[in-house]
Symmetry: C2
């Protein structure tokens, strides 16, 4: 099989402790000794056994990311950002998909999944305030996207309420008054703090502040936030006969489904109906028309979450009290709300060198 510390030590003519010191960049090693060891390492193609290291040190160098599904654009982009943030710190990422199943989410916080990890970044859907005590877990945990008030855990969340309010104000600013919403939660548990609930609250606040009554007929639930459900909710809205001149989709994927449904029905966007989505995913810049959206600061969220988790993993003894961070958001106006399209490259540029063989 592969070489061990002992093999390297034998070849280099030193003890395994010295080899270990070199591998781990322990400073007090004589340069000549270090070189001898490194030579032996290269010669044998030695690679440390991470299971053994993990057993001894209690750290695996891997963190877990528990999200509903990588298949959904927001989470795909989030996972990309999380993986990059982890890689910067030398950490791997195990991705676990909860599929929005509460039992699966409970497994995550019970530590029944993702067990070879040093800590977990978790984006729950069905964990509410009533579950706060469950979050008292014996491993580092950072919660994303929801705010479990009073919980014992670090959170990196969004300004769900105020950014949703700003999105609706964006529509109001266009003179629209009959503003529909798709993506509300199907049912609302008493302790709901999910993104859907909070964004609906922002919608209501914006309308109330403008002196416009909230019309329940304009608020549609949509199940999971996927294209098909966005299209279906919009078709239902059209079929209901309720008139509307703007649409707030609680995320971009729903909005793109809505664009499709409106297009099929011959409704013009933004002339007849203005649309704004949420998340500012890559696809928003390439639909026809391009889609206005709320940029919730996703990259910041990922970076902060990983940084917090790393701190918790390194923490020993006295615990820092739980922290709660919300990055800034901003509204991005595009064609779907009457703004001009900008063809700038806004997808992140990643190095793509020529084929060097």
């Amino acid at each position: 099989m592969s070489a061990t510390l002992h093999d390297v030590a034998r070849v280099a003519g030193v003890s395994i402790k010295t080899v270990s010191n070199v591998i781990n960049d322990y400073p007090h090693v004589r340069p000549t000794t270090r070189d001898r060891v490194l030579l032996a390492v290269k010669e044998l193609g030695y690679q440390p056994n991470l299971s053994a290291r993990g057993l001894r040190s209690g750290k695996t160098g891997v963190i877990g990311l528990a999200i509903p599904s990588v298949r959904e654009a927001y989470f795909a982009e989030l996972a990309d950002s999380i993986i990059k943030a982890a890689e910067k710190r030398g950490l791997g990422v195990v991705v676990d998909q909860t599929n929005e199943v509460r039992e699966h989410e409970l497994d995550v916080i019970a530590g029944r999944r993702l067990r070879l990890t040093d800590g977990i970044v978790f984006s729950p859907v069905h964990i509410g305030e009533m579950d706060a005590e469950l979050l008292n877990v014996p491993f580092p945990l950072v919660i994303l996207g929801e705010s479990i008030f009073g919980g014992p855990t670090d959170h990196v969340t969004m300004h769900n309420v105020s950014s949703a309010q700003a999105a609706v104000e964006h529509l109001l600013g266009l003179g629209r008054r009959r503003i529909a919403l798709i993506g509300a939660a199907d049912s609302e548990p008493a302790d709901a703090v999910g993104s859907a609930t909070l964004r609906v609250r922002g919608y209501q606040q914006a309308l109330e502040a403008a002196g416009i009554p909230v019309d329940p007929a304009l608020i549609r639930s949509a199940g999971r936030w996927r294209h098909d459900n966005g299209a279906a909710a919009t078709r239902a809205l059209l079929a209901s006969g309720t008139s509307f001149d703007a649409l707030f989709a609680l995320n971009d994927t729903l909005a793109i489904g809505a664009l499709r449904a409106l297009g099929e029905a011959g409704v013009r966007v933004p002339d007849d109906v203005a649309i704004i989505g949420f998340d500012n995913t890559d696809a928003t810049r390439f639909s026809l028309p391009s889609l206005s959206s709320v940029d919730p600061g996703r990259d910041d969220i990922a970076e902060i979450a990983v940084e917090m988790l790393v701190e918790r993993i390194a923490e020993k003894g006295e615990r820092v009290p739980p922290r709660r961070i919300k990055p800034d958001f901003h509204i991005v106006g595009r064609e779907s709300t009457g703004f001009p399209h900008v063809t700038e490259l806004t997808e992140p540029e990643t190095p793509s060198p020529a084929h060097v063989h």
Copy 2:
């Protein structure tokens, strides 16, 4: 800290071996003993230390997935399928993003990343036939998406050439004769076997079979297969003044970028230009117009890849010779090539139970 086998053994009044037998479902344990052990397990909240198990057994229960980026729709959907296939078998998945950087890809096959895994599913971009010997790795490896001819590794690939040919035949069947292509490789290494090269070959074969000369002015490279590059390549094509009545985008994301660029230019799809993409990603069903595409059998690819990897991981002694599998593909006609739109739910239905608190 957390309980160990010894703790459980002490509480249950048995030896640690018996506990281990129970944990690992070893059959020959007296039911009463088993119950006693399980009680102690529950009482102590015992969870096996996977690092220790990994060290001893040589297996971690985690596989690696190395792909260019989860942010790209095809890979997001692939990762979803791979994670589900792995979960069925009790395996976790560490996701590693190569970003199409060759050095990073070399790290993957050198085992310098994803080292806490039992095996790796790898979708390379810059590994060519000349690298075949590098694939002689000491760990289970399944290659996706490319076929390194004569390599020592299991492959699950697509019918890149013949399905691309079928896609172009689909366009020819509409009576189109000036068929452009976007997404060709920027440069072509001598040993290129990448998806781009193979799909271009299918394009050429289709044209040649139809007696239509291949016009290099109709073939555009596009860098990475992202929306922005698809739009840019299409704008360049339009700006070049070369006339075309159909467009084959080498993947759906490029195609959606192309739809955007054509829409901006007032070109009607499919009337003026018919478009077909590749991958049959979720987004194809919700663009305006909806996008015809090649369904390469992605779910099958994921399932087969994980199954092969699991077999290799379990393999001892005599090695089965490398296998090469290509699932069936098929062409999906939608509005962008003049087919009617179907509003069926074709995104996978995943369980989404009500909020049960």
